[in-house]
Symmetry: C2
Subunit: 155 residues, 2 copies
């Protein structure tokens, strides 16, 4: 069945291209044999750099089941998920990811997924995006309020 859902992700990707809404990427979230979320890249159309196919498919699936976790679900992606989409899958508790095109194929088409994985592998001080720690007196306030909260919900 993996082939069926992965072909669906590929079909969504290919069909989206002429509409110019974003890159050539599609994704499908499946729970117990049912597609509960599917999407294609919408970065350009929605002016949202996080509107990757996998992110949107995960958000659609969560909206469908009205929960922020997708335990046991499988994510099918036309291309290997970039770090944004991989991290989204972790937060969503996706159980397994299946993809059709390796990151090199996306790189050949002009997308920086591979570079982004390299940035994550590099030590922070060697990355091109500086991430700086600034200690402030009130830094602990949010966590202090959080631990005082009786009904805090982890995700």
């Amino acid at each position: 069945m993996d082939e069926f859902y992965l072909n669906r992700a590929l079909a969504l990707a290919a069909a989206s291209v002429p509409r110019g809404e974003g890159g050539p990427f599609g994704a499908v979230v499946v729970r117990e044999g049912e597609i509960i979320g599917e999407a294609w890249n919408q970065v350009v159309a929605s002016r949202d750099p996080t509107a990757h196919a996998e992110v949107l498919a995960i958000r659609a699936a969560c909206a469908r089941i009205d929960h922020f976790h997708l335990d046991g679900c499988v994510l099918y992606a036309s291309s290997e998920p970039c770090p944004l989409c991989l991290a989204a899958a972790y937060w969503a508790r996706i159980a397994r990811i299946v993809y059709a095109n390796p990151r090199a194929a996306a790189a050949a088409a002009g997308f920086c997924d591979h570079d982004l994985y390299e940035e994550f592998r590099a030590p922070p001080e060697a990355r091109r995006l500086p991430v700086q720690h600034l200690a402030l007196p009130d830094a602990a306030a949010p966590f202090a309020a959080w631990t005082r909260l009786a009904q805090r919900k982890l995700y």
Copy 2:
């Protein structure tokens, strides 16, 4: 000025906690001294596992300037951005990130940001989330359509 904007991110984080909309995190996007996007974590309220403060602040800033890139902008985050938010910052072309609480503080409050960084550091075969490549005959179709497209827009 970093202190001013970072304190704003902390204030958003602390103020959001009693509302129970998500974790105790806030973020602000600044362009040339002006706040163009700000947000707090909404994972629980919106049932969206990607509704982290930084992601929402980036999306708000992009909506404000009607573009999917935030060149030259600085992202201020109450806590060190997790891999999802770091990747979102890369895709948005954020120029610099400043944060107040290191990932260990988030871990102490029960959030898995640190674990997630460890997963990214681990070789794919050692990660707890399997990411599987499945070769299919039609895999190349989306990229083939993309390279044929005259007005393709990279992001």
